[in-house]
Symmetry: C2
Subunit: 326 residues, 2 copies
């Protein structure tokens, strides 16, 4: 038995905040002359079993090389190994190898977020426009997504129930954590651009001409990166509630409004200000510094810092999401 042609790839979903918005680090591959620009992808690198002692070290190294900055918080997400799911193929000398990709979630503090050529901090809304409910239900759900999904569902009750539960139709509540399920549903229904691309690859056909690309379904990413991104966002949204992880995205000091804005940007829902304040203060995870933030109109806000000491003894404490409107 010979060694099976397997290559381990590492992908990083790096989140940061810029101007109060949630951004993800993307890499744009070199554009072939005369061809349409290829879709962006996540920072991605092979794992070298000889040179690297652990996945995490390897990840930190190649992200630093590709994007010129250091990761802070890092956590393993999921290992993707499906065949035929637009899994990337790697060229390893003697033919193509199967790539198993280990996805990682990483967070970068606000200050680190600088730009490099071919590396960009992309707004999450470009890839998941239906995930931002801060200003209420996005109109594109009822106008574009729901009709398209319902056409696909036909008379299948199971499908219709799934659509309603995931996209909060017919009075179902919005669950901001189920990012992956929503993306998978769109993919399954053939509405994500990647779905058509994968089918074309599976059929060994030439890449399909860009089908009429409806912006409501979000921009595609290279190979299965949008799926990895959806996994990361869902995981982060859930984790915010039971781990003091939002602070990894903040600077050294911050106002409670800025903290709330950060929570809202990641979770995609609007929060109730007075109750959010109290919930945060009750946790004991922050400490007022006594002095205020000079800028901004209105009354100046007090600055706070994250009490890392307190978090160490009670790491199972996150921030609650006291939502506005049901």
């Amino acid at each position: 038995m010979t060694a099976p042609p397997i290559v381990i790839g590492l992908s990083a979903v790096v989140f940061a905040l810029r101007e109060g918005e949630a951004r993800v680090l993307t890499v744009r591959p070199p554009r072939p002359p005369g061809a349409p620009p290829p879709p962006e992808g996540l920072p991605f690198g092979p794992f070298d079993p000889e040179g690297h002692r652990t996945f995490e070290l390897a990840l930190r190294e190649f992200v630093a090389r590709q994007t010129r900055f250091q990761l802070g918080y890092v956590e393993q997400l999921y290992t993707f190994g499906d065949k035929g799911r637009d899994a990337p193929l790697a060229d390893v000398g003697a033919g193509a190898a199967r790539v198993i990709s280990v996805g990682y979630l990483a967070l970068a503090p606000a200050a680190t977020a600088r730009e490099e050529p071919d590396v960009a901090w992309a707004d999450l809304g470009r890839f998941f426009p239906w995930e931002d409910w801060r200003a209420g239900r996005p109109a594109l759900i009822e106008e574009v997504i729901a009709p398209a999904l319902e056409a696909w569902a036909g008379r299948s009750g199971a499908r219709r129930d799934r659509i309603a539960a995931l996209f909060a139709l017919d009075g179902a509540p919005w669950n901001e954590e189920r990012v992956l399920d929503r993306y998978e549903l769109l993919y399954e229904a053939g509405l994500a651009p990647e779905a058509g691309r994968d089918r074309a690859l599976a059929a060994e056909a030439a890449p399909v001409a860009a089908t009429l690309r409806e912006p409501a379904f979000g921009e595609p990413m290279a190979s299965d990166h949008r799926r990895i991104l959806a996994t990361a966002l869902g995981r982060l949204r859930g984790k915010l509630k039971y781990r003091p992880i939002i602070f990894e995205l903040m600077g050294e000091t911050f106002t409670l409004s800025a903290l709330q804005k950060a929570m809202e940007a990641i979770s995609g829902v609007a929060l109730h200000k007075p109750n959010f304040r109290r919930a945060v203060e009750r946790t004991g995870l922050v400490e007022g510094l006594g002095h205020t933030d000079p800028s901004s109109p209105g009354r100046p806000a007090e600055l706070f810092r994250f009490r890392r000491e307190a978090a160490a003894t009670r790491p199972s404490l996150g921030l609650s999401l006291p939502r506005l409107r049901d």
Copy 2:
């Protein structure tokens, strides 16, 4: 560049209940004549990139082959790739390859749990004797574990704080989910038998003679399987609280006492009966069947069934753990 020698291994942590106790499926490797019996391990098999379309299908297949029964619920846990952490080496013709193991958590309904030669349902208490708090704090924590850890910590305040927080000393509350952190702490302190074994391997020395093996630190398992088991148990304990997953371990019908016993066996804490009943009934996840369970002394209990329909619409509902004595 040649294909790096990588092999993907799949490991399954399969939990089930037998006689009300939490058990894990283990495999005993063939005993070499004259040698001491090798430690048990988890069901483990290589992933064949040619033959298998997805990890999960591969896992189901080889577990069925090794243990002769079908898995029910399956979920990916974590991918372990550290070098030097007693990572198994696989023989792939031309020398040893680096094994990356993808760990899975699986649950089997009570009825499926039958025995096969070389396959056993091992009590969790054998591997983690300090994790069972159903009858209050296990004596071995204060008698053996805490003194040994404190000797290791010396005057390091950080280490002592970590010990107290993880093992609920000095009034710290017991957090049943942090199974992995506790195991890692024991490993780091050199108290888990695996730690000595790994160091011996790293030094290319002959396997150390079995050091005085203190039962309080639990029985070792093959390679890094006890770490994978700890990951699985911690994940399951957490997930019980927000997903209706305990029902995957129950039969078709069950009494509320049996359900409570199941929750207690997995989470390792004692629950308050009247409050547990009410909490379960409030979720709407179970339905009384009107008739009772014939056996047992005392008043016969009503039988219930899991309402899978209800779980489909609200999958983010678990059962709360109304604990006895904090």
